[in-house]
């Protein structure tokens, strides 16, 4: 099937199988910041934004995304850089495998929630697992990022 996706503000026409998932479509088209983890919606490492909302790309059929807007971390370069800086400063960045997905989820949270509490932040990020840095440093980095009005 031929589908139309706007990926990082660029219109793409792609051929996909009917049972192909967005994760595979994106990786086959060299969006390699979108990573494969559990492949069963548990770990969040394959997160992309679909029409601005974080979704697990391993569980969204590409045909269902037809006509929609997909954002990977390359689509939010300034915000990703800012977040990366705070993650580095707080020591919340070891292997970096989950960082693109975490950055996208935090970016979506910033857009969706006004003045989130610590509980709101934890709740929003619970679907992004990190297996090396841990979450305390991440939480500090997120707080600093949300407070950065530059």
């Amino acid at each position: 099937m031929k589908i139309k996706l706007t990926i990082n503000n660029e219109l793409k026409y792609l051929h996909v199988e009917k049972d192909e998932y967005l994760l595979d479509t994106l990786r086959q088209n060299n969006y390699l910041s979108v990573r494969r983890g559990c492949d069963t919606t548990n770990c969040g490492v394959c997160t992309v934004l679909l029409d601005g909302k974080p979704v697990p790309s391993c569980s969204v059929l590409s045909v269902v995304a037809d006509g929609h807007v997909v954002t990977t971390v390359e689509g939010i370069p300034q915000e990703a850089e800012k977040l990366g800086t705070y993650f580095g400063l707080e020591g919340a960045d070891q292997c970096g495998y989950c960082n693109p997905s975490v950055a996208l989820t935090i970016y979506a949270m910033k857009k969706e929630l006004k003045n989130p509490t610590d509980e709101d932040i934890k709740d929003y990020l619970v679907g992004n697992l990190c297996r090396c840095s841990g979450y305390v440093a991440q939480e500090k980095a997120v707080r600093k990022y949300l407070g950065d009005k530059s």
């Binding site: 009917k18 049972d19 997160t47 979704v55 697990p56 269902v64 709740d123 929003y124 990020l125 679907g127």
Partner: protein
């Protein structure tokens, strides 16, 4: 999983015809758990063009379209206020925001997932389902059907009643499926208890509910009612937990739920 055809109907008639055309045609809600099935699907029917993705309300009802995502439901201000936000708590216990942006209320109901936290809460809220052909049916009746007839779910309706609610999910980790979930509601003295993930599908505990509603509420009556829940429902073991552990959890959390909604807190 294998999908032979993908179809997006533009009318309800068209969608219904496609559903009943072939028993291997399957409607997808959000598709959140579809990957876990090894099904060979003749035609996958996506309801994205039917306008079923909004939440509306009347004076006494909240009407949730079948294609409304769980995250849309939890973002609705009314959901946080009815039954002490019981449904909100149940939805928030479903993994992360990513999956809740994909999973829909219709997919949750039609999937009839035994582990579902949302179904347990909806049961205690006496939710109703509106189908295209069958029209209105209670969620409880639908879940009791062994093999429901093929139909198109349009809406899930919840009464906006003055009621208290309690919901508890027990799981090994935040992202895991429930070992057990319990929902208790109190609508003007009319108590309802729902228990799911036993590991069977959510059920209302009618004997315990009748006992409670026929007696003046006291600690002893509530303890007896929690005991009746164990007699009335089937519990069993699976890889997540043993039967005896589940029964112990049910006894404790049903009692806590009853105390919470009747203001008999310890």
């Amino acid at each position: 999983m294998k999908i032979n055809e993908f179809y997006q109907p533009n009318t309800l008639d068209d969608a219904y015809d496609k559903i009943v055309e072939n028993s291997n045609n399957q409607v997808m809600g959000g598709g959140a758990w579809m990957k876990l099935s090894g099904a060979n699907i003749n035609t996958l029917i996506h309801l994205g063009n039917l306008g079923l993705d909004t939440v509306s309300e009347t004076q006494d009802k909240l009407i949730i379209g079948a294609m409304v995502s769980l995250h849309q439901v939890e973002s609705n201000k009314i959901v946080g206020t009815i039954y002490n936000g019981m449904l909100l708590k149940a939805i928030k216990s479903v993994m992360g925001v990513q999956i809740r942006n994909v999973a829909t209320i219709g997919g949750t109901v039609m999937g009839r997932y035994p582990f579902s936290d949302v179904l347990t809460a909806l049961m205690a809220m006496k939710a109703k389902l509106v189908f295209y052909k069958r029209k209105e049916i209670s969620l409880e009746d639908y879940l009791l059907e062994k093999k429901p007839e093929r139909d198109l779910l349009l809406f899930v309706e919840i009464d906006k009643k003055e009621a208290r609610g309690y919901f508890k999910k027990v799981s090994k980790t935040a992202l895991d499926f429930a070992i057990l979930n319990v929902a208790v509601s109190n609508e003007n003295g009319n108590l309802a208890i729902s228990v799911g993930a036993r590991p069977g599908l959510a059920r209302l505990c009618h004997q315990a509910m009748d006992y409670l509603n026929q007696n003046e509420i006291s600690d002893e009556i509530m303890q007896s009612a929690a005991g009746k829940v164990l007699e009335e429902l089937d519990f069993s073991s699976n890889s997540k937990a043993g039967k005896e552990y589940r029964m112990e959890l049910a006894k404790v959390y049903v009692l806590r739920g009853l105390k919470a909604v009747t203001c008999h807190e310890d």
